[in-house]
C-alpha cells in the first residue's frame, strides 16, 4: 500500500532532565486517516519508544484519560482523526502537573 505521511510536532519534557519543554518533530508513515491515539502508538512502536502518553482506551470517547492539546485545542486523542499529509502540533492538556511529555497528573481524577 502506498504510504502517506503525517508530520507531528510534539512537546516533550522530562522534569528530571530538561530545563525547558521542547518540540520534537516526527514524520509518521500512515495508510489513510488515523486517530491521534493511533498516531502516538505508531510513533512508540516504529520511531521513538521513549515518548510518554497514556495508552488506556475506553473505545467510546468518554473516559477523558487521553486528552491532549491538538493545534492549541484540547481534544480526546481517541476521537480525533488526522488526515494524511497534515502537519500537527501536540502538547499536554492542562489540568495538572506534567509528569513527562504528554502525561499529565490530572488533579481531577
Amino acid at each position: 500500500m502506498a504510504k502517506e505521511k503525517i508530520k507531528a510536532k510534539i512537546l516533550r519534557f522530562d522534569p528530571d532532565k530538561d530545563k525547558q519543554p521542547y518540540f520534537q518533530d516526527y514524520d509518521i508513515d500512515v495508510n489513510g486517516p488515523v486517530s491521534i491515539s493511533e498516531l502516538l502508538a505508531l510513533i512508540r512502536r516504529n520511531i521513538d519508544s521513549t515518548l510518554a502518553f497514556r495508552t488506556y482506551k475506553c473505545y467510546k470517547g468518554s473516559c477523558q484519560t487521553c486528552v491532549v492539546r491538538y493545534n492549541g485545542k484540547v481534544v480526546k486523542a481517541c476521537a480525533t482523526q488526522i488526515m494524511p499529509n497534515s502537519e500537527i502540533t501536540l502538547e499536554p492538556a492542562a489540568g495538572g502537573k506534567v509528569v513527562r511529555d504528554l502525561v499529565v497528573d490530572f488533579a481531577a481524577m
Binding site: 522534569p15 519508544s49 521513549t50 467510546k60 482523526q81 513527562r100 502525561v103 497528573d105
Partner: protein, 571 residues
C-alpha cells in the same frame, strides 16, 4: 535502587469495579487498605468500557415478579455449560440485589419504572429480563465507585502504580512490589492480605474491545507464587466489535440490541444474507456462526460481517434511536472518530477478545490456593465456567469484590504482619535491573508485544486445533528466548513506559504459554473453547476444570472436579 517501603492491613491491586468494591469493604471492616492502580481508578480497566447491563434478580421489585436468585443461579450454571463452581455462583446470585442497592446508595443512577421498580432489559441467556439499566453505563459506575473509595480515610490510593510482583515469605503472600510511575520509585507494600483484582487478560489478543492496558498481569504474578490458575482456554469473544477502520477498531456494537424487542436488525454476510436466526442465541453460539461465515469466505473486505439496522422492519429511525438511547457514547464515538453513522451504513464487525472466563482459582471467600492471596472480579476464575452470560461480570465485581474484601479483612484481623523476605525482594529488583542493563542487542518491548498479539489472534481464536496451537506455542517459545534483549532506558524515571511495557511483555509471554497449554490440554469443545479436532462436548471426560499448577516453576496441567451445591447435571 531507591525502594520505598509501606505497610498496611490489606493491599488491593486494581482500580476497577472489583478492586474498588473490595477496598470499600476492607475499610468498612475498620482496617487500613492501600489500593494501587496501573491507571487512574474510575478510568482504568474494563469497568468504564461496560454498558448499562448489570444483572440482579429483583423479581417483584423489578420487571418480572417471577424472577428469583435461584433462577439467576440456574441461568449462570447453564450458561457456563455446568463448569462454574456453584459455591461462588451462589454468592453472586444471592447477593446481587443487595450489592446493586449499595451501588445506588453510592450514587449510581438506575432507570426505574414510575412506581419505583427497577427497569430491566432482557438479554440472551436470562430466563426473565434481569439486566438493570445504569444510565451512562460502566463509566459512571466506575467514577462513582472511585469517589466512594476516596471518601474512606483508611484507604490510600496510589494512581499510575504498576504492580508486577507478589512477595512471598515462606508459604504466604505478604504484599507486592511495584513502580510508582509518577516519580519512578520502586515501592514495596507489606500487607497481611493481598487482593488481586487486576481484571482480565483480553488484550493478550490484538483484536480486543478491552483497553490495551489489560494484559492480565495478575495471572503470571499469582502463578509465580504457586497459586493455581483455572480454565484459561475459555477466553470469551464478543461477536460484534467494529473491525474497520482502524480509528474505531475494537468499539463494541451491541449484538443484544438486534433482538426484535429493540432494533430488530440483522447480521449479514457480504452478500447481504442474514446469518443468525432469531431469537438470538447466547454469545458463544452466535460467535461460532459469525466465525464460520468469515472462514467460508462470505466475510467483508476487512474480515468481518455486516451489522445492519438500515433495513429494520421497525424503520431505521426507531432502530437508530435504540442505539442512541441505550449506547449513546458508542453511537457518537463512531461518528466523531470515523464518520460512521450506523443508521446510514452497515458496520463491518467481527468477534473480538472480550472477557476472561478463567483466571485465578478461588473459593467462595475469594481465597486463592496460596495463603494471604485473594482474588475477585475478572481476574478470578472458576465461576463463569465455559461461557459468561451478559450482565453477570459487573454483578460479579460487586458481589465477589465485597466478599473478598470482607473475608480478607476479617482474616487480617486475626493475624500479624509477616515481614518481607529480602531474598524474594532482591529477585523482584533483579527484574528491573536486567531490563535497564546496557546490552549489545536491544529490542523494543512494544515490538515483541505486537508479535504476541498477532500470534494469539492467529492461533488461539475461538476455533483451534492441536497443530495450530503447537505452532503458536513454538512462536511464543521463540519470543521467550528474545526476552533478555528487551531493553528500557535506565535514565528515565517518570512514566517510563518502556520499562513497564517490558515487564508486561515478559508476563504476557507467560500468560500466553499457560493459555496455549490449557487449550491443548482440554480435548473437547465447550463454550468458548472450540477444538476443530475434538468438535463434541464430552461430558463424560471433560465436565471439569482445567487447572495449571506451578511445579518448581513449570506448569503442570490437571483436571479438577466442579463444585455443585444446588444443581447437579441431570445425566
Amino acid at each position: 535502587m531507591e525502594v520505598q517501603k509501606l505497610t498496611t492491613d490489606v493491599v488491593v491491586i486494581g482500580g476497577g469495579g472489583a478492586a474498588c468494591r473490595a477496598a470499600i469493604e476492607v475499610a468498612e471492616n475498620g482496617l487500613d487498605c492501600i489500593m494501587v492502580d496501573k491507571g487512574r481508578p474510575g478510568r482504568s480497566g474494563a469497568t468504564p468500557c461496560a454498558l448499562w447491563s448489570i444483572q440482579a434478580p429483583f423479581g417483584p421489585r423489578g420487571r418480572d415478579e417471577r424472577d428469583t436468585p435461584e433462577q439467576f443461579f440456574a441461568d449462570m450454571v447453564n450458561g457456563g455449560h455446568f463448569i462454574g463452581d456453584q459455591n461462588i455462583v451462589e454468592i453472586v446470585a444471592f447477593n446481587a440485589c443487595d450489592r446493586i442497592l449499595d451501588l445506588e446508595r453510592y450514587g449510581v443512577h438506575f432507570k426505574k419504572y414510575d412506581d419505583g421498580r427497577f427497569f430491566q432489559t432482557p438479554m440472551p441467556g436470562q430466563t426473565y429480563p434481569r439486566s438493570c439499566f445504569m444510565f451512562e453505563n460502566g463509566q459512571h459506575m466506575s467514577t462513582v465507585l472511585a469517589k466512594e473509595v476516596s471518601r474512606h480515610k483508611n484507604i490510600k490510593v496510589m494512581k499510575d502504580f504498576f504492580a508486577y510482583w507478589l512477595l512471598k515469605s515462606k508459604d504466604a503472600v505478604v504484599g507486592i512490589v511495584g513502580i510508582d510511575m509518577i516519580n519512578g520509585r520502586i515501592v514495596v507494600v507489606n500487607a497481611k492480605n493481598t487482593i488481586l483484582a487486576t481484571g482480565g487478560y483480553t488484550s493478550l489478543w490484538g483484536f480486543s474491545d478491552n483497553p490495551p492496558t489489560l494484559t492480565g498481569d495478575g495471572i503470571p504474578m499469582a502463578f509465580r507464587v504457586g497459586a493455581d490458575i483455572v480454565d484459561l482456554e475459555f477466553n470469551q469473544y464478543y461477536g460484534t466489535d467494529v473491525i474497520w477502520p482502524p480509528s474505531v477498531r475494537g468499539t463494541v456494537v451491541l449484538y443484544e440490541l438486534m433482538i426484535d424487542e429493540f432494533a430488530d436488525g440483522e447480521i449479514r454476510d457480504k452478500y447481504g444474507v442474514p446469518i443468525i436466526k432469531k431469537p438470538l442465541p447466547i454469545r458463544d453460539e452466535a460467535i461460532k456462526t459469525i466465525f464460520n461465515v468469515i472462514k467460508e469466505g462470505r466475510g467483508t473486505e476487512h474480515g468481518g460481517v455486516l451489522f445492519d439496522i438500515t433495513k429494520s422492519p421497525k424503520g431505521v429511525e426507531v432502530a437508530r434511536d435504540v442505539f442512541k438511547e441505550m449506547t449513546p457514547k458508542h453511537y457518537q464515538f463512531l461518528i466523531d472518530a470515523a464518520g460512521l453513522d450506523l443508521a446510514k451504513t452497515p458496520l463491518e464487525v467481527a468477534p473480538a477478545s472480550h472477557y476472561q472466563c478463567g483466571g485465578i482459582y478461588i473459593n467462595e471467600k475469594g481465597e486463592s490456593t496460596v495463603k494471604g492471596l485473594y482474588s475477585c472480579g475478572e481476574a478470578a476464575g472458576n465461576f463463569q465456567g465455559a461461557n459468561r452470560i451478559a450482565g453477570t461480570a459487573l454483578t460479579d465485581t460487586q458481589t465477589m469484590g465485597a466478599q473478598a474484601g470482607g473475608c480478607a479483612a476479617k482474616d487480617a484481623k486475626k493475624k500479624d504482619l509477616i515481614p518481607v523476605d529480602q531474598k524474594d525482594l532482591d529477585l523482584a529488583l533483579d527484574v528491573i535491573k536486567e531490563i535497564v542493563a546496557n546490552k549489545t542487542k536491544k529490542i523494543n518491548p512494544a515490538v515483541v508485544k505486537q508479535e504476541i498479539l498477532e500470534t494469539m489472534d492467529k492461533y488461539i481464536a475461538p476455533f483451534r486445533d492441536e497443530k495450530g496451537m503447537n505452532k503458536g506455542l513454538s512462536i511464543i517459545e521463540d519470543l521467550k528466548e528474545e526476552l533478555p534483549k528487551i531493553y528500557a532506558p535506565a535514565d528515565i524515571n517518570k512514566y517510563n513506559l518502556d520499562l513497564t511495557e517490558a515487564i508486561e511483555t515478559k508476563m504476557m509471554i507467560e500468560s500466553a504459554e499457560l493459555t496455549f497449554g490449557s487449550a491443548l490440554f482440554r480435548k473437547e469443545s465447550r463454550g468458548h473453547h472450540n477444538r476443530t479436532d475434538y468438535p463434541e462436548e464430552d461430558n463424560k471426560n471433560w465436565r471439569c476444570h482445567t487447572v495449571v499448577s506451578n511445579k518448581n516453576g513449570k506448569p503442570e496441567y490437571s483436571k479438577r472436579a466442579v463444585i455443585y451445591t444446588r444443581m447437579k447435571p441431570e445425566d
